[in-house]
């Protein structure tokens, strides 16, 4: 069955520290991979996406993610976290043969210490 796993439910980092959020997927077809961010009480905003090509993708707000097919992973990184990055982060996967349906991970809540 297709699935997305975000192993970390909650992460706390200090402001200015680096960040890595993990995402692993199980998917039979060639996946399209996404990271979304959700601030409290808000909808979801796309941070970045991977469809094909360069496995290191750049997104908004200084985020990047690397697709590693051998590890079935798509981890999100940021070199220096800002207090405004505190939010919930969702990894998601879809493919052409699934009608564009997104399968989401459970989410990782990020807290930022001053």
């Amino acid at each position: 069955a297709q699935s997305v796993t975000q192993p970390d439910i909650h992460i706390t980092v200090s402001e200015g520290a680096s960040l890595e959020l993990r995402c692993n997927y199980s998917y039979g077809a060639t996946p399209y991979l996404f990271w979304y961010v959700q601030s409290p009480g808000q909808g979801l905003q796309l941070l970045l996406k991977y469809f094909s090509g360069d496995t290191l993708v750049q997104g908004i707000k200084g985020f990047e993610a690397e697709f590693k097919r051998s590890q079935s992973s798509f981890n999100l990184r940021k070199p220096s976290v800002h207090w405004s990055d505190a939010a919930e982060y969702f990894c998601a996967v879809s493919s052409d043969n699934q009608g564009g349906k997104l399968i989401f991970g459970q989410g990782t809540e990020l807290s930022v210490k001053p």
């Binding site: 796309l46 052409d96 564009g100 997104l102």
Partner: protein, 112 residues
């Protein structure tokens, strides 16, 4: 562009009542989706549509119905509300499968 709009923002229903959650997009997107979000569970797909007149079930369709009479609108109907339907509901749209989905602000529904 307003993007994806949802109404209402909040609603409290009694068990057995019915309601329709409205979703409209002004981006001329073919694909539209309804998700529900429960704490610690991520988002689950309820129904989706690949164009006007075409709808299909997602992962958790029981207790819900949809219609897609126009490209812009994709309402979600709850016929007999149950406490298990207490959730935050998000509507989303995309141009095609290879394009990102744009999400509305959500509707927070409580059934008591």
């Amino acid at each position: 562009n307003a993007g994806v709009t949802q109404t209402p923002k909040f609603r409290i229903l009694k068990i057995g009542q019915s309601m329709t959650l409205q979703c409209t997009q002004d981006m001329n997107h073919n694909y539209m989706y309804w998700y529900r979000q429960d704490p610690g569970m991520g988002l689950k797909l309820i129904y989706y549509s690949v164009g006007a007149g075409i709808t299909d079930k997602g992962e958790v369709p029981n207790g819900y119905n949809v219609s897609r009479s126009t490209t812009e609108d994709f309402p979600l109907r709850l016929e007999l509300a149950a406490p298990s339907q207490t959730s935050v509901y998000f509507c989303a749209s995309s141009y095609e499968t290879r394009y990102e989905q744009y999400f509305g602000p959500g509707t927070r529904l409580t059934v008591t």
